[in-house]
């Protein structure tokens, strides 16, 4: 049983509270205004969903990563837009929305299947497979739209998904909360989650234990595609359209979120709650730089990138340092891989 609060969780919670207190005070309370909290909720869901997609790939081990998450989100929206426009025009906006959501998720699953197929069946390294498919997905999107923005006319109801609230809670956040529950159930409760975590920790042991690792990898990348497709729905609803380069900056932000959450790039360890907290922390910082005023010589956009980078470095270093019993022991410890005298040589997998 893992303890409820691992060092990353603690660090992220402290960071979030610190930002709330400091920025709330500096902004004269306007940062803590309910409208601002809601506004940040609208903004963070798409990054959160893309981060889930990234997290699933990274935790699966075998240097797993999914560089195609933004490509999947874009292509899913383009395909869904075309299908929904064909089947339900502006006259049936609710039907349009339903078809769009279903089609985008299906398209995401298909894209994820392609990734999984390349990686599990043909044996591509994930970084190469998804780098390739990212370009393919974006390329198809450019081809289908002719490079221009695809706008959905007179479908006000569709924009509700990304821009309206239910009982004061932004709909994107409700979707994100459902997705969080979904991914937690899969990883914590379902048998698949146990097998998936085992495979991520040690793929060789998993194979010898009789797990069908290829099947697990396929399902992992399909789930990743599912979350990316869902992110695509929110992205296109928020801008009432889709364009091939929309969200081009999101890939690195998703990786940043996942790494900050303490998901191990070599697979195995990672917690959903940390990814949610990391997404919240990055969103808070992002809004901070739009709301606070800075002297003219400090460009808020670059300052934001700088602070994100700094937070990433600190968020990895601090939990490690704090969890070490003695601060100095880390700095002066001997190489962990050195062979202790008289001991057996460590076995490398």
């Amino acid at each position: 049983m893992k303890s409820l609060l691992d060092p990353f969780t603690k660090f992220l919670i402290v960071t979030i509270i610190a930002i709330f207190i400091v920025v709330g005070w500096l902004s004269g309370g306007s940062f803590l205004d309910i409208y601002n909290i809601q506004s940040m909720g609208f903004q963070m869901a798409e990054i959160g969903l893309l981060s889930f997609a990234m997290m699933l790939a990274m935790m699966s081990g075998n240097s797993g990563i999914d560089l195609s998450v933004v490509g999947i989100a874009i292509l899913s929206s383009v395909v869904a837009g075309i299908i929904a426009t064909k089947l339900a025009g502006p006259a049936a906006p609710v039907l349009f929305t339903c078809i769009f959501v279903a089609a985008a998720i299906c398209a995401g699953l298909v894209c994820g299947f392609l990734n999984g197929f390349l990686i599990a069946k043909i044996g591509y390294t994930p970084i190469l497979a998804t780098l390739g498919t990212q370009l393919v997905f974006v390329g198809i999107s450019v081809g289908l739209t002719g490079g221009a923005a695809m706008t959905f006319k007179y479908t006000q109801e569709f924009t509700y998904v990304g821009n309206e609230m239910i009982l004061g809670v932004p709909i994107p956040i409700i979707i994100f909360a459902l997705a969080t529950t979904f991914i937690s159930v899969i990883l914590q409760i379902m048998p698949f989650g146990k097998r998936y975590t085992l495979m991520g920790t040690n793929p060789i042991a998993a194979r010898f234990a009789g797990l069908d690792t290829k099947r697990i990898v396929m399902i992992t990348y399909m789930l990743s595609g599912f979350f990316a497709g869902l992110a695509g729905v929110i992205m296109s609803s928020r801008s009432n359209g889709v364009k091939w380069d929309y969200g081009s900056s999101y890939l690195l932000i998703a990786i940043l979120t996942v790494v900050m959450a303490g998901v191990h790039p070599n697979g195995g360890s990672g917690r959903v709650i940390n990814v949610v907290l990391a997404a919240v922390a990055l969103q808070l910082l992002s809004s901070t730089f739009s709301i606070l005023e800075f002297p003219a010589y400090l460009n808020p956009s670059f300052l934001k990138d700088f602070t994100w980078g700094l937070l990433l470095i600190v968020s990895i270093a601090v939990p490690k340092l704090l969890s070490a019993s003695d601060f100095l022991s880390i700095l002066f410890s001997k190489d962990e891989n050195s062979v202790p005298e008289g001991g057996a040589a460590p076995v490398k997998p």
Partner: protein, 330 residues
Amino acid sequence: MKKYLMLTAALAASVASVPAFSADVPEIVTIVKITGINWFNRMEEGVVEFGKSGEAKTSQTGPATADVALQIKIIEDLIAKNVAAIAVVPNDPAAMEPVLKKALDRGIKIVTHEADNQVNTQYDVEAFENPAYGARLNQRMAECMKGEGKWTTFVGSLGNQTHVQWADGGAANATANFPKLELVDAKQETNNSPDVAYAKAQEILKKYPDIKGFQGASSLDVIGIGRAVEEAGLQDKTCVFGTSLPSVAGKLLETGAIDGISFWDPKDAGMVMNKVAMLLIQGKTVATGDDLGAPGYNKVVVRQGAGAGQVILGQAWADVDKTNMKDYPF
């Protein structure tokens, strides 16, 4: 737990070093496509200058990359902050509609620039009628080409309304006045990046070795094209024209790799946007013939826009080549 308390204090101290402001004058924020490039740095001069009048507190911001998704997020934050007015130069007007509607619904005044198809805006400020500007660029290029040969157009992106209008305006002018011009592979997308423009220009030069004319749209298009032309040693055989600034294109203008540029002064555009935003805050309107207090905007034309808002048109373009570039030190 003590360590965490200390950590909180350290974080607090680092953020607290940033000064906070509060003022009673209305706040106008200008959001540009991308920060840190010359064009929008020049615009910021106009934004800051308007703020010096003391009528309003003005500032300029924008994303570090030209991604409309990031621009939307910045506007969302400003809506939450409840600023008095937002002046925006959208990367993609269509994608901005929902967030601008949200701002209008909250009573925030909206002024746009380079987006005369924007529905959710109150006033869209244009330096000039876009097709006419594209035609003007094309006219200069066609004269340089002596009226014949292959030519092509570059745009920052196909979603960028003004860039497409200039390219189309140019093509229309060529069709009407220069029958011997042959347009090939029109509207190459450069992503507002000189490197992409360079690579695309190289491809075009390889595909059409006898190409004679290039018409760029983004302020960085001609830089990439000029570099490719210069490397191929074709400065004297090609005519490169496009939107840019002397500070950006100066060197290549001198070597002849770029033959001529046109632009409107982003500083004046920035100032006029803020001026119009201020008029909106004061509950005033702009009508045809009004003087908005900047060169080229002394007698504006106002017409109906794509939505409830209106489009304000100036006559603020400047044609520059290596003979008169010294007159425009920015």
